[in-house]
Symmetry: C2
Subunit: 250 residues, 2 copies
């Protein structure tokens, strides 16, 4: 199966690496950003182009959600298999006379970071069972966690990920603003953060909850509200504590 | 220095373990809960009592914030050194004719879990420099991260920890409600969560932010709001995205 990856961002980069590391041949990387494409091309040893999209059996579109539709129109080969990598787009966003699919890796990607691709869950959808099976097999070469998921399910996977990843990182960013305001080294909090996450590897997060709100410790909640000088911090502090109290009927 | 630990909860348990593992002698564990005390006593090989508080040079009070004052009144030995382990109490809460101190370990403790005590930051405060120095030395036997911190600083350490640990765990609990509602295995999200935390070991959380809000992706934000069926989830979703947008001026 002759494969082309379209895109030059973090997802395209890591998929190109995941494929080639697992001896899945990629015949071209195609995109607009020549500087980024050249970097990826050199690292994974696959030719790139910003102009001529190669003929292929499988096109994997790893670009931003808002560009998927436009990019999909560049593919003119009939009967190719074309998949996007988005958690928040249906297959039907792909515009062309070809077989449509989705190939969604659940991870947060940054270029500077090596990843263990075998742990990344892949969620697969295709218009027909033969393509679904072949994409399942393909993803299974890379990862031990591969599942069929339709658009409805994919949307909820993405939504859950926003809570468990994007919002969590934002809390770290807000926490760091507080520690910076007091000249506290944020590194002090890293063992605590590591342990918080380590716990949920074997314990339900609901059972792992600690802190003043779940204890119903109104003295500390009031003390903290008096310490907070920033309106955004206070809004988050109050809403999260209310939500904790509701979950545990405090 | 003859040492007694007061308390039978998670903090007392782990401090007793941290002390004895590092060959700091503990002569008694004292508390009210005989069942828990017996368990700790057997594990760390230190006698316990629920009735007779031993004479000691150093009493470490590891009980809940609301009990510290009452417990501190049990210590009648003049000129002993007495420390509590709370991030949200001043030394002055200790009521007795003795030298007062605070010995605050920054970690989330659960009894079932082994911890690497050498990574846990300890924050020390004492009424006089000699005690401060001896507590610094004591904590330094256990940990590589020991610092003098007065009550003002300790309060902000605790507040930061609430954002970076308690609230983060609550987001995991809310995320799991969403994935449970769709029969999604929460284990799918563990590699993503691990990577989210791994990133902030070497990257500022503010620079590591990903997701629809920081991209200004209003289509996905709207799509997610339509998926959310629970009012608490929606309140968190909206507030966190507003806060992200404000941080990045989106």
């Amino acid at each position: 199966m002759k494969t082309v990856i379209i895109g030059s961002g973090n997802v395209a980069y890591h998929l190109a690496k995941a494929f080639t590391q697992n001896h899945i041949e990629v015949s071209q990387i195609f995109g607009r950003n020549e500087i980024e494409l050249r970097k990826i091309s050199e690292e994974v040893n696959v030719p790139f182009s910003t102009v001529d999209l190669s003929e292929a059996d499988f096109y994997l579109i790893a670009v931003s959600d808002s560009s998927v539709e436009n990019v999909s129109e560049l593919i003119t080969k009939e009967n190719a298999l074309v998949a996007h990598t988005s958690g928040s787009l249906p297959m039907e966003v792909l515009k062309g006379n070809y077989r449509k699919a989705s190939f969604y890796p659940l991870q947060t990607f940054s270029k500077t970071k090596n990843l263990d691709y075998s742990r990344i869950p892949f969620f697969i959808e295709a218009e027909n069972q033969i393509d679904e099976k072949s994409l399942l097999e393909l993803a299974s070469i890379i990862s031990q966690n591969v599942e069929i998921s339709d658009y409805e399910r994919r949307k909820y996977i993405h939504l859950t990920a926003v809570f468990a990843c994007n919002f969590v990182n934002h809390l770290f960013a807000r926490a760091k603003e507080i520690s910076d305001s007091q000249d506290l080294d944020f590194n002090y909090f890293i063992p605590l953060i590591d342990e918080t996450v380590e716990k949920i590897h074997y314990l339900e997060p609901k059972l792992a909850q600690t802190g003043p709100a779940v204890r119903g410790d109104e003295r500390v909640l009031k003390l903290h509200e008096e310490l907070i000088k920033d309106d955004e911090h206070l809004k988050i502090y109050q809403l999260m504590n209310e939500s904790i109290k509701k979950m545990y009927n405090k």
